[in-house]
Amino acid sequence: MEAYKKLQLARKSNRPTGLDYINHILTDFFEMHGDRRFADDSAIVAGIGRLCGQPITVIAQEKGHTMKERTYRNFGSAHPEGYRKALRQMKLAEKFGRPVLCIVDTAGAYCGTGAEERGQGEAIAENLSEMMTLQVPILSLFIGEGGSGGALGLAVANEVWMMENAVYSVISPEGCASILWKDPHKVREASDSLHICPEDLKLLGVVERILPENDWEQLWQDLPLLLHQKLVELSNLSGSELSESRYRRFRKMGVYGE
């Protein structure tokens, strides 16, 4: 039942959220709002800041801690305008040659009438294809829940890193249990079967690096350096090399017979 425990940890409201990461690892952060099409989505925080002195673009899904914050952030579930806001920031990053750091923490893209009317599927689809050819490095860091397409919409990256107690899943284990076994109580079994834990995902080639959570103070010291190092390393590649390596990364994913 290891996977289910991890899922519960990943969802805890006292875990550091996207904004906590931004505050700990960046300096001079300037937040930028809105998708220039419809609205500003408070479930996604985006802007520019300095990572070890170097300007980067950061895009983070924010869940909030208190009930008030969580309601304001829509529990980290973005509408289409959130994904379009993220894409706008990525395009700006490309224009100015800044690397992109995406911080992922969402139960999934929001499932509501407004989201459907404004094209949730189209917004995510556009992010997937535009991110694939973005000419600057993209690094995605999973800090809690990585829920389905809503997470992937910020995770078509050159590398994906996960916190030790984060998960990444094609569907919520509850959803899986109720669809397949018509029994939401089989969530433990579903969590195991879906292979949502970082170690499993590393074996499958979905994740490059797992970060330990045993000492947060140490982590806040090390994390900026680790991220910076990786982004500098990726910045040595040309735009087309970055795009090519991103394509190759996903191209090889899949198990099948022929």
């Binding site: 509501g112 294809s129 694939m132 389905s148 899986c176 499958l204 899949g254 198990v255 017979g257």
Partner: protein
């Protein structure tokens, strides 16, 4: 992700009854359907199954579009003898040992007489060459696992190499959860291949058919240069039942229908099945470069 429970099991034999074909593409003897009559979900009239089949699986009374088996669709769309199938030997593996997946794969293969939920290949539509794919709802509700993702990716890679436009019919309940996070990754993989095809200046026409939902909607289904849909098709990211559970309200009639999406600006047009061949040929010809 869309829930399987959102889709009623087919109420009649019609949706499961295609032109059975042998591996080489030649029609076998037509089978006698289990039931001679079907009730149309559109107008409620009782119809002879054979009449509906002759009419491209469309109700002769109210034009309700029944599901169309992928192979039947491609063979009826392409010029005679022009369709060559690609990658027909790819098959899914239960690599996560997911409970019940092996049995489901087996029953889907028997039920659909296909290897997987998508069929792809090369064909000509009224003389215009193109790469094609069509998804089949009888195979695990057209869900996208590694094989579907790989076949779609190969269609776009081949089409890019051979400078061909792509015509694709989508139908899917979403990503295949039995393959875990790797099925989610197929969304990125296919999107990358579509983008490369697009960057090469080539045309991609998507025809969204009932139902197209979840991870397929949020990837290659919505990435066409031209987005068409069949009348009445359900097109969604989250299916109606998931939304109703989230917002705790009944959805208005016609929400997430093709007509609704057209009104909201997410489709180029709605095309009835009987006009599909003509429309596609017209669009392909308009994009052909003068030699």
């Amino acid at each position: 992700m869309l829930k399987r429970a959102n889709f009623k099991p087919s109420r009649n034999t019609l949706e499961n009854f295609g032109i059975a074909t042998a591996a080489n593409g030649t029609p076998e003897q037509p089978q006698i359907p289990d039931r001679l009559c079907v009730k149309c979900p559109g107008c409620g009239k009782m119809l002879f199954t054979i009449d509906v089949q002759k009419n491209d699986n469309v109700c002769p009374e109210c034009s309700y579009h029944f599901k169309m088996p992928a192979r039947k669709r491609l063979l009826s769309l392409c010029d005679e003898q022009s369709f060559t199938e690609w990658d027909s030997t790819l098959y899914s593996k239960d690599f996560l040992s997911f409970p019940g997946y092996k049995v489901k794969l087996k029953s889907s293969r028997l039920n659909s007489r296909e290897n997987e939920a998508v069929i792809s290949g090369y064909g000509k539509i009224s003389g215009s060459p193109c790469a094609l794919f069509a998804m089949d709802g009888r195979f695990m509700m057209g869900s996208m696992g590694c094989v579907v993702g790989e076949k779609i990716t190969r269609v776009f890679e081949r089409a890019t190499q051979q400078h061909l436009p792509v015509v694709g019919f989508t139908l899917s309940g979403g990503a295949r959860m039995q393959e875990g996070t790797l099925s989610l990754m197929q969304m990125a993989k296919t999107s990358g291949a579509v983008k490369r095809h697009s960057d090469a200046g080539l045309l991609y026409i998507t025809i969204l058919t009932n139902p197209t939902t979840g991870g397929v909607t949020a990837s290659f289904a919505m990435e066409g240069d031209i987005l068409l849909a069949e009348p009445g098709a359900l097109i969604a990211f989250a299916g109606p039942r998931v939304i109703e559970q989230t917002i705790r309200q009944k959805l208005p009639k016609g929400f997430q229908s093709a007509e609704f999406l057209l009104e909201k600006g997410f489709l180029d047009d709605i095309v009835a099945r009987k006009d599909m061949r003509h429309t596609l040929s017209h669009l392909l010809k308009l994009h052909e470069k003068e030699a």
